[in-house]
Symmetry: C2
Subunit: 432 residues, 2 copies
């Protein structure tokens, strides 16, 4: 074993950074055997170098980023600061100084992927980001390598643990959204400002990254249609269950003949779909390829050690490249720019919950209004009264988003309709 | 793009071989972009070179293996003949002629892994075998790369599609073993001689391979304790369901303080365990690591195109190595030889189904006999009569295999006991 030590410079010593330090120490011997050389942290960029850090010596701590990036002994920069800036600038500087870079930063990868890949390629270094999606779940490398022989048609994931925890609690205990959110905050799963999670924006960044890799075209967060779970009521979840579905916040990317369809929204999925069994803070990513068929990757999508697991796996991969004098073996795989499918042209069955007048002929009138917009109804349930109104739940056949919106507008204008309470897509799991 | 074509020699043109030819043709353009060069099949070893093969020209077909292995233009040998010999000899010859080798052959990898890895290392070539376990499911590369930062404590899989199909049918439709087998044969999922599948031997080869990689120690098929599903009755499955479990044929490998515990047997798993939802011919491998926690990899464990997906992924990986002038980047990871845990020392709760005399005091006598062997009973169900006997079902607390066997021997000798009908392990999913 040639004993050239592989040296790591760590940017950030928060939750994930501390996990990386812990993991590299705990499994140091195994990692050295896999790499063929020891892997050590040389310097760590911290905000406060005076604060003692377990597992690190004071002289390893620096507060000036150039002391890390310009250190000629450092081979790999690991960025675990999070946020767009200054993380993106630091990564770019590191690549331009011919350092390999490993990052867990979905914001930076989703927004600046193109620029950073180009810099990595120009400088003949690796740029890896397994931890940016799905926490500890292997998904980037499986898409880039293990499923590389496939034409991927669909990636569908539960990629936000906070909302999956909330929806699981709502499903199991009949909670409403506000109670589930308070519970998630109390459990430490949701932040004080939960917008990024419950609004779907965290999931949108992740599906942008996954779609880019799966379809070989650059998809950014701005390309993603996003609906959050804030309008989901306990009633919607009850109806889902009764109709044989589970309600999940899905991140969906499909390659269709109308372009790349990429979106985040709550959806009914059939209870027998592999994603339906994914509960609590667990994440899973379901991938369909032309050769492999259906696959799914399941695990913890966040947390200190799962995320550190993915970061250190990337470090090991880079270290193996360094030992074998190779780099940029697998870089950007966005070979062409494919058009996006406008959300209006996407199609699926829909669930619609309405409050209508409780009198004869109302259901026929509603069905007629949907029919006039070419929306056929698969099933209609009328179950309970809310004040003096009747609650009606409809499941449509597959219909375009545009037609559905027109139909909903018509329905909303009808005097017999008090309110359209919710409209939720049904993902059938069938090939479109 | 440097246009040096990567040339493949294919050994075998059965189901998987034809799938590899199809897939390399169907996605040729994407694969060329990923590799940076076209990947083409130059020669194919077949039994009958006169038989026309779709997608191949007559002069690509040869019946002499040396015409493939000795061809200086061929970079990668893909072995998809199956069976131990002559496949193993051909692989070894190819490695010794400095050809990279990709194989789908679990028999060869499970039995001759050590020798073949050594030959690959000595000749500075790649030796990849993703398709040997789990068909299209990425699991070898995830274990060797994506989870490389972890100390793996447990790998537990449903790795045989035939038996999982049979057990699913038995569970859903109350079939007995013989009917389920006939149905699997009619559906083309089971062979005329189903021994390797229903006897657990196919799963044993796969878990030997997985255990070797997960724990960094060579485990061969002879090290695996094996029980098949031939004794499973419809009653056992009914009781599993009633008690909140699902019955699966599990391939289990754990690193314990008594050594490597590796076995294949039917098991009750809790209905909420991620593996419990894996139905029909689908496979899944559940992996627990110290950092990542629980992960699971799900998909089609067999079939022409899923297997071809894994084979061609390996070909792409080797081709990328060739393009980057690197090889043997990741070879054997069995760094030490760890002791095995004898099956007698393994421990778990057990399910036991007995026929006993239907009279007062019998249950107390049985509980006493178990207690005398230090086996505590968690629950006892007495539900129905079989002829003049009472059927009793027991779930024990965690107990060693040795103590359990002693207790069963005692029970079998009791005059009030007609028959011990079945004894099945319970895998709780808890960390041991």
């Amino acid at each position: 074993m040639g004993e050239k030590v592989i040296q790591v410079g760590l940017l950030g010593m928060g939750t994930v950074g501390s996990g990386v330090v812990k993991l590299l120490a705990a499994n140091a011997q195994d990692i050295a055997r896999k790499v063929g050389a020891p892997v050590r942290i040389k310097k760590v960029l911290v905000r406060d170098p005076e604060k003692p850090r377990p597992g690190l010596l004071p002289d390893q701590l620096v507060y000036d980023v150039t002391a890390v990036i310009d250190d000629a002994d450092i081979d790999i920069i690991v960025e675990v600061m999070g946020g767009e800036q200054p993380a993106k600038d630091y990564i770019l500087q590191a690549l331009n100084r011919r350092k390999h870079v490993v990052t867990a930063n979905k914001d930076v990868v989703a927004k600046y992927g193109r620029e950073l890949f180009a810099a990595a390629e120009a400088n003949h270094v690796d740029f890896l980001f397994e931890a940016s999606v799905g926490g500890g779940i292997p998904i980037i490398r499986p898409l880039k390598q293990c499923l590389a022989a496939n034409k991927i048609s669909e990636v569908m994931g539960i990629v936000n643990g906070t909302t999956n925890y909330m929806l699981t609690q709502m499903t199991q205990h009949g909670l409403d959204f506000a109670t589930a959110l308070r519970q998630a905050q109390a459990a430490g799963y949701a932040e004080a400002d939960p917008t990024a999670d419950v609004g779907g924006w965290d999931a949108a960044r992740k599906i942008a990254i996954l779609a880019s890799i799966a379809f070989g075209t650059r998809v950014t967060v701005d390309d993603v249609y996003v609906e959050g779970i804030t309008t989901i009521g306990a009633e919607d979840i009850e109806y889902a269950c009764e109709l044989g579905y589970v309600l999940k916040l899905l991140a969906v990317a499909k390659e269709t003949d109308k372009g790349i369809d990429v979106r985040v929204h709550p959806a009914f999925i059939p209870h027998h779909h592999p994603l339906a069994a994914v509960q609590d803070v667990f994440n899973a990513i379901y991938v369909r390829g032309d050769a492999v068929g259906e696959t799914m990757f399941y695990g913890r999508g966040a947390g200190q050690m799962p995320t550190a697991s993915a970061v250190v796996a990337d470090v090991i991969d880079v270290a193996r490249d360094i030992r074998h004098h190779v780099s940029s073996r697998i870089l950007c795989t966005c070979y062409e720019q494919k058009p996006l499918c406008p959300i209006e042209q996407t199609a699926s069955p829909y669930y619609i919950r309405l409050l209508v007048e409780d009198k004869p002929g109302v259901l026929a009138a509603i069905a007629g209004a949907f029919g006039a917009q070419q929306v056929s109804l698969h099933s209609v349930i009328q179950k309970r009264k809310v004040d003096n109104w009747a609650e009606v739940v409809l499941i449509t056949y597959r219909v375009s988003h545009a037609s559905l919106r027109l139909a909903i507008n018509t329905i909303e204008g009808m005097s017999i309709v008090s309110k359209v309470q919710n409209v939720i897509r049904v993902e059938t799991g069938e090939i479109d």
